[in-house]
Symmetry: C2
Subunit: 439 residues, 2 copies
Amino acid sequence: MPRFTEFETYDVRFPTSLHLDGSDAMNADPDYSAAYLILRTDAGDGLEGHGFAFTIGRGNDVQTAAIEALRDHVVGLEVESTLADLGGFWKSLVHDSQLRWLGPEKGVIHMAIGAVVNAVWDLAAKRAGVPLWKLLAGLSPEQIVDLVDFRYLTDALTHDEALEILRKAEPGRAEREKQLLDHGYPAYTTTPGWLGYDDAKLVQLCHEAVAEGFGQIKLKVGANLEDDVRRMQLAREAVGPDIRIAIDANQRWDVADAITWIEALTPYDVWWVEEPTSPDDVLGHAAIARAIAPTRVATGEHVQNRVVFKQLLQAGALSFLQIDSARVAGVNENVAILLLAAKFGVPVCPHAGGVGLCELVQHLSMFDLVAVSGSTDQRVIEYVDHLHEHFLDPVVMEAGHYVAPVRPGFSAELAAGTLRDFRYPGGKVWTEFTKEQSK
Amino acid sequence: MPRFTEFETYDVRFPTSLHLDGSDAMNADPDYSAAYLILRTDAGDGLEGHGFAFTIGRGNDVQTAAIEALRDHVVGLEVESTLADLGGFWKSLVHDSQLRWLGPEKGVIHMAIGAVVNAVWDLAAKRAGVPLWKLLAGLSPEQIVDLVDFRYLTDALTHDEALEILRKAEPGRAEREKQLLDHGYPAYTTTPGWLGYDDAKLVQLCHEAVAEGFGQIKLKVGANLEDDVRRMQLAREAVGPDIRIAIDANQRWDVADAITWIEALTPYDVWWVEEPTSPDDVLGHAAIARAIAPTRVATGEHVQNRVVFKQLLQAGALSFLQIDSARVAGVNENVAILLLAAKFGVPVCPHAGGVGLCELVQHLSMFDLVAVSGSTDQRVIEYVDHLHEHFLDPVVMEAGHYVAPVRPGFSAELAAGTLRDFRYPGGKVWTEFTKEQSK
């Protein structure tokens, strides 16, 4: 019986702060980073499971240490029985009676569990010889529901309700899979809107986004109101009236500030307002959503777990739910969140960008289309053109759509050269950077 | 100008799981642990700042690594200007633009900030030559408000409202300080109620608690309803009708389960129900609170930050607010939470126990009494008789009350021998334990 034998972690960082890519009102100078994991087995098939947590620089060592803390939960397990009960595996990590004190179910330790769970799913899809989205979308409703831990959810979504949602979507699976393979999944782009870019670059990138076929763009806002009004006006002029413009405040405001600020931007037709305040503030989001209606609220990239998503839905605090592939505890928890969103009829529009978040999250939206919500209506996956070249199976965009990946796995695998050169602090990129700085 | 020069961390663990002390429905086998920090300066006065995060075993290494990640935020800072602006120091840690991705403001990284902030407060109180509670209670309302970050709070508590609360409490400070020094601060004990104890031990410990002068005890519940009913009945018989009995489910239930379970215990007169469900579930707590009224809900030991406390208060989800000295980002954030509780008129009854949580949190309640709420009405600090002997300035109980500490500092300091012998995995206690196990 093959077992998990190796558990290898890497602190990988990209010096993105040098170019102000990824700059917003809250994250001034990110160095996009991955706390990265490779799992190996003695099955003799050469297949590995890759997974990671995404951070923006400092603290990536802590995140890597947290993944290391889960080593004994994985090494030694039988591969086949583990893959046959990934719901049980998830619980064995999340409900560890000592580790849960570090969360529970939030922050560094929860993201570490996400990395491990996702690595195991990567392996599962490779062993099955299919991309992850197809592996998930090929499971029976019963198998999908078994992946989910309903603890703390049953006041909003029960096991039986989830099963009903999945069964209702079952008949159209084949047709929607064909639609997905033929046309891809719609995307929007954040590339034009980073706060660090000047007006000329903003306008140029807006034109490029439209030319590339995107139907939606997003602007970062929240540092200076006057600047935001000017940038919003420029962007609207550049893209015309038919392209959706979302704005993203990255948690910058208190409730009252959010309402005032958003009202100043609504004349330019705001598709959604993202992260207006603290990701922990369900009631704050709900108050903002009520005040700015019909303008709508989106949030989720920093929402720590399914319990907070449940409440955001219960409180009517969001109109677009933004899952992140590497913030919560991996595929299983995102399946729970997709089911919650379906129950409440809220479209899921994932957060992506960073390091490999586009690569991962496309699989979840594609699964959602085929087997859960059954729709792309009002649904788009974020796209940011960063660092894809480091992945073995990078996302492919065509006419503003994600092309469905066909390679087996979760598209999670960084190139060996990247793991070597960008390893922090010893990789070539960082030793040279340090030499340069000390000149 | 003296500066912070040394930042020394320790992974300290106590093998408490051997005796099932601290066992509850969620935490079956805790090894009480501290991720511990000593700060030193070159002031030449020999004074050190001690602080720590509390965990229950596995993962204490990750917690210690997270404290290490803050080293560069402290070492090199000028001592006096740092102590003169501890509100600013707090923000420099919490709003670090890269580290906040690991939370934001939750979990491992937030607890690490708590350890650092508390260590700096320990030093501040030692330099002032007073216990921390007295240092805080001697600040002007303006100085206290400057400690607080009002970001995300202003829809519930503004700077000016906080100032008004503090000014209103100012006239009686001297009188209440005298009351505190004469009579101490009321406590309740959790010692009788751990799930791992048999009925005979429960009854015996209940009798002892009453004999020691406690007016309130607490039972752990949530593993088995039949057992809980029997234990509650035994405890009520043992303590009589006049001693308050609180129950604590340690997050065990979903909303509907909580309501059923609590109703089965109410015939025995339940003073409060603690942590009925996920600490993240504001709306769930509110639903439970409405359903079980007039029985009341208490929560807080796992509440991640002031934003979640704000919502629990806004939603009427709790009747007793349980701060924890080492879960949120230290003294400053707990000052914010005490002010929020005062604004909503909710009594603060701290969580304690573990390693040194009693030692720390007594200072916060005593400050609350003298300078914020101005009352001990319905207020009690948890007391658990664990591991106090390892501290240089352990808590002192008299007739069910915490005696106000008079030694300068935050009572945070572990004995040097403890730091040496319980260090994990190299300390004597652990090397001997490992030898024993491998026999």
